[in-house]
């Protein structure tokens, strides 16, 4: 059998294979390096970094739910300075493809993090904007719930990092995903990460207390995969030339292929990294086997290839 070509381009970004690790599910790669070579992963989307270190929310922060889990962690991270001085050099030394995930409470915080990343920007493959954290300037909304707020973050970060691909990560908890996607693209987004977690809640009926200290949390895992496939399909149909980084419930090559056929140029394994720290490389190998058995030379030929007629 001839070797298959797993390399993909996500807009201007070249990846050695289409399987990344999703933000918040693989730290900044160091812990995962016990199980795989981070340089073999399609890309490491880092834990979201903020302008100053964030301590995160009280516990319990997690509960398992049918085919998934809820989390309310509060982006506990050591801050962008720690990333630039400690994690980034380690990642680059490990030959990793690095996508830095940025989070903040205000547009200004996103921009300041982007400014701090500028010196190392040439080494970054892209930045992902985690715009699903609470927007302090518009209290009841996450950035990703408003086309205007999404556009503002994207355009300001783009201005701070003009030469780096910017991928806002959109929330599925919205009425019109394509409206938000359109606003992000008009503001200069180079790709779209789809999807972030869904809002969920669980209650302990004995104590009558929420199972999360944060009351409401984000649902992830296989339970949300059909929503990811639908969201990717919807946005891909509306914007067929825009690269999508599909995420949501990927545990296997079959899951990844589903997201790609819906329109994702690349996918990220999220929650499943907790179960199988080698999942990203296993999924990439599974995609290669599928391509060999189906006589497909380039993985790009699978993107958006769902058959809707006939």
């Amino acid at each position: 059998m001839s070797p298959v070509d797993l390399s993909v381009r996500v807009g201007s970004v070249e990846l050695k294979n289409p399987v990344l690790v999703a933000s918040g599910t693989f730290g900044s790669g160091r812990e995962g390096a016990n199980f795989l070579e981070v340089g073999q992963v399609g890309g490491i989307i880092t834990k979201s970094m903020t302008l100053v270190p964030w301590k995160g929310k009280p516990t319990p922060r997690m509960c398992e739910t049918p085919s998934g889990m809820l989390n309310a962690i509060g982006i506990q991270n050591k801050g962008v300075d720690y990333f630039v001085s400690q994690d980034l050099p380690w990642l680059l030394n490990s030959k990793a493809t690095v996508i830095a995930s940025i989070a903040g409470n205000t547009v200004d915080e996103y921009v300041k993090v982007a400014d701090k990343l500028r010196t190392g920007a040439r080494e970054l493959a892209a930045v992902e904007l985690n715009i699903s954290c609470p927007n302090l300037e518009d209290r009841n909304n996450m950035f990703a719930h408003s086309p205007d707020a999404t556009a503002e973050v994207v355009s300001e970060v783009k201005r701070a990092l003009p030469r780096v691909a910017v991928w806002p990560k959109l929330s599925p908890n919205v009425t019109s995903l394509t409206a938000i996607a359109g606003a992000a693209l008009e503001a200069g987004a180079d790709g779209l990460s789809l999807i972030n977690t869904l809002f969920g809640m669980a209650i302990d009926v004995e104590s009558r207390r929420p199972k999360l200290a944060g009351v409401v949390g984000g649902l992830s895992g296989p339970a949300i995969k059909p929503i990811a496939v639908r969201a990717i399909h919807e946005v891909h149909r509306a914007f067929p030339h825009v690269p999508i980084i599909g995420q949501g419930g990927v545990t296997s090559a079959e899951d990844a292929l589903e997201l790609m056929m819906a329109g994702a140029s690349a996918v990220a394994v999220g929650t499943h990294n907790f179960v199988n720290p080698r999942a990203s490389v296993d999924v990439a190998q599974g995609i290669a086997s599928y391509m060999q058995s189906h006589d497909i030379d380039s993985v790009v030929d699978l993107v958006g290839m769902v058959k809707l007629e006939g």
């Binding site: 599910t25 016990n34 100053v52 995160g56 509960c63 889990m69 989390n71 506990q76 801050g79």
Partner: protein, 310 residues
Amino acid sequence: MMLLTRGEVLGHKRYSEHYHSLTIVAPEIGERITPGQFVNIKCGDGSAHILRRPFSVYRVHKRGGWASTIEIVFDIRGAGTRHLSQLRQHSSVDLVGPLGRGFALPTRRAHCLLVGGGVGAAPLFFLADELRNDGHRVDVVLGARSTRMLLNPIEVRRLASISRITTEDGSAGERGRVTDGLEEMMERCETEIIYTCGPHPMLEAVSKVCVDKEIPVQVAVEELMACGYGVCMTCVMPVRSRRRGKDEVEEEVIYARSCTEGPVFNGAAVLWNGAAEAVAKDQSELSPTGVPVRQSFVDTSGDEHAPPGN
């Protein structure tokens, strides 16, 4: 070095009608693991209940026909443990380990008091073996709600120089909790360090006694966790941490990961009550170089990412 590996069940047995025991052939883990460290086991096919379940190791068999095996003990709490209870000889087990930072052992000959509640006593058996091998004196307080929930009291009598058994319903040993009369027990045993594992209220009560008497206390916590290897940030405990400031050592409160900085903590450094408020009040930033509070004569040195046995 943590490993993702497959083990084989060598035997399943019961301790009282309440506890199941699985002995698993996993030489790479058995050779490396130290008392207090844990393994994270996949329970079932992972479709409905996706996450692994963490288990501290009850015993490591280093010699004879059962060499290179680890033994875990558990009671049935849900679908995951029910699945494990149904495994029999030659069943395959998918596990990750050794994980976490184990108990810090005394650096000189010491009188060690081990205090265990319910199934939480499990890692104390492995610890007792190691302490005795190193020539330390081991005394034990073992408690549970009732006789059938006492974990192997006969073995406790064999291992300990002085032992005390308590049950809350008085069905075996003394009626009461492990913490009742703990001070008298400490005086009688001339205790120099306490090791404890069990429910958090018990750990808190034991820690309080130790702080009052200025005796080092090592607690192994049981926290909900998703990944077990340091990336998900769900299993955190609020602990006081010290770091070197410009001129002096500063103290602050951080959320430390039970899976990597723990599961064994200095009980005197854990904020057991009002933890959320304490963290919120602590205005200093999360320490990038935080080190655990040192105890007088146990070796707690080492990199935060490197559990003992690395």
